[in-house]
């Protein structure tokens, strides 16, 4: 549960700046420009260092070679197949984990029987390295998509269920009482009060689970081979094709960035009403 507090840097410190029009924006602009400059300088150092012999080009092939490979694979469609498969496995597994995890988390805070049953299972399962169970899922569901997706769902389930449970069990009682006194039924309460109030924590759970799901997807692909970014990368690695490996790294950096940022956007959209988005 405590894992949830780690957030990318952009999420917190900038919030302390009060928004002022005009010149107050310029130091921030300078920061942004400098930071983009740092990235550009790193990319340039990579390219120049690898091309002119400061770095062994096998250990770190020049950026332009890597991008050229990426471009070729993009034209042949290989990149899109890999990205699509990895994204499909990660998101479907994540989605299954959320669809099972959120209701169980809500039920755990509402029903003592459900809590009695799941509390020990969650508290034992949450800190375990779930990836160790992968061979069991391979044994049960073979090496194709089913076992990968179930593995991803299994590792996403625990952060989601514990965040939902924590979020729905520590609710402020006043909104619940006032909703009741206005005549809301239990089912209305669930949709109108419990879930919205727990939404920030549920979303935090999802934000922890999604990167975990991506890590798991990549490992399952590496272990079982076949298509998908992980599979393609480990094949490239086994054939000592370092350009292929780094092309995979560039793909995965972009994919990870896109996925994590989209979930942040979803959070801002869903929590538009919440004080946290008014900072």
């Amino acid at each position: 549960m405590e894992m949830a507090e780690v957030r990318p840097i952009a999420a917190t410190p900038k919030a302390s700046q009060t928004r002022r029009p005009g010149r107050a924006a310029s130091p921030k602009l300078v920061d942004t420009i400098v930071q983009i400059g740092v990235i550009a300088a790193l990319a340039a150092a990579w390219e120049v260092g690898a091309r002119y012999g400061a770095i062994n080009p096998f250990l770190l092939p020049p950026l332009s070679t890597v991008l050229q490979r990426l471009w070729d694979d993009l034209l042949s469609g290989a990149v899109l197949v890999d990205l699509g498969l990895t994204l499909y496995r990660a998101l479907l597994g994540f989605f299954i984990g959320a669809v099972i995890g959120v209701p169980i988390g809500v039920l755990m805070s509402r029903s003592s029987l459900v809590r009695w049953f799941f509390d020990p299972l969650i508290s034992i399962g949450f800190p375990m390295p779930k990836i160790a169970f992968l061979p069991i899922f391979i044994l049960w569901f073979d090496i194709y998509d089913t076992s990968k997706i179930i593995m991803v769902a299994f590792s996403c389930f625990f952060p989601i269920v514990s965040a939902t449970w924590a979020g729905t069990s520590s609710l402020d009682k006043w909104p619940i009482w006032s909703a009741r006194s206005f005549g809301a039924k239990e089912r209305d309460l669930l949709w109108e009060v419990y879930l919205p109030m727990a939404m920030p924590q549920i979303l935090t759970g999802l934000q922890v689970a999604l990167p975990v799901g991506m890590i798991t997807t990549i490992v399952t692909e590496m272990l079982m081979g076949g298509r998908g970014i992980g599979g393609t990368m480990i094949t490239a690695g086994r054939f000592a094709d370092s350009v292929g490996v780094f092309a995979g790294i560039v793909e995965i950096v972009l994919l990870g960035f896109a996925v994590v940022k989209s979930l942040e956007m979803v959070r801002r959209r869903v929590l538009v009403w919440h004080p946290e988005s008014r900072r």
């Binding site: 780690v6 917190t12 740092v38 800190p127 044994l139 798991t216 990549i218 995965i252 950096v253 960035f257």
Partner: protein, 267 residues
């Protein structure tokens, strides 16, 4: 039954048979799950091959422990994870503190963190394989890189969140900037640092096991996958449960340690 579980949590200090009974009751769902497991295997719904009986797994575990090299492989794995994690904690805390205190460091490191934070670190497995081969150093580097970012981010967020009045009063009392860092910023950031390290601990186990699945010649992950490849499923299940138990114990031990470190804070 749930009430018993709650009561057990409320006065966890009570010793004796009552507490034992409560713990049993609290963890009875696990026993139910075990019974279900045995039932599935014995009734033949799922073949014994797919779902070995728990007795068989326990026997295989004892055998692995006495005759096999389960302990040796586990120690190898844990020493790699501990080295990578330890280095990541030291470097990560230093980097996070420097980022929070000095703007040039922040401007230099922040973009790198921003780009690599969302990257699934397991993707680095083929990279470290190309860089350092199949030995210990590749896995240590992988665990180090994977654990570094959560520690940096936790430390940075914590250090930025320290109340500025404390910094100002320490400075006005004549503390040098290093003393402010050591006496005010570091303790103030400690809760966030500890949370970051806990995430890193979880990552270290994930990366330890998965790197050994993919590239290794020893270690507990390698052992699991070779037992699986050899069709020794009871032993494979035993080794998997053993790793899971170690991960669980490490997290619990760490949580107790973190509570101790933070004892000085008001709850």
């Amino acid at each position: 039954m749930a009430d018993a579980g709650l009561a057990q949590r409320r006065n966890s200090g009570t010793a004796g048979a009552y507490a034992v009974a409560n713990t049993l009751l609290r963890f009875s769902p696990l026993l139910i799950l075990c019974a279900f497991w045995e039932f599935l295997g014995l009734s033949g719904v799922i073949s014994q091959q797919m779902l070995p009986g728990l007795g068989e797994i326990a026997q295989a575990f004892v055998k692995l422990l006495i005759e096999g090299n389960l302990l040796y492989n586990t120690l190898r794995s844990i020493s790699r994870a501990a080295t990578g994690l330890g280095a990541a904690v030291v470097v990560g805390i230093l980097t996070g503190l420097l980022m929070a205190s000095f703007r040039p460091v922040r401007l230099l490191v922040n973009p790198i963190v921003q780009i690599f934070y969302p990257m699934p670190k397991s993707a680095l497995i083929p990279v470290v394989m190309i860089w350092l081969g199949l030995g210990d150093s590749s896995k240590i580097l992988l665990i180090f890189l994977g654990c570094l970012l959560p520690v940096i981010v936790g430390t940075y967020n914590g250090a930025r969140g320290v109340n500025p009045f404390l910094l100002w009063s320490a400075a006005s009392l004549g503390a040098s900037s290093f003393e402010v860092l050591r006496e005010v910023v570091l303790p103030g950031a400690m809760p966030d640092i500890l949370t970051g390290c806990r995430t890193a601990l979880a990552f270290s186990f994930i990366l330890m096991v998965s790197s050994e699945f993919v590239i290794a010649t020893d270690g507990v992950g390698y052992m699991i996958s070779s037992l699986g490849d050899g069709g020794l499923y009871p032993a494979m299940f035993a080794a998997i449960f053993f790793v899971a138990a170690i991960g669980f114990a490490a997290d619990r031990g760490y949580a107790a340690f973190a509570r101790r470190v933070l004892r000085w804070r008001e709850a």
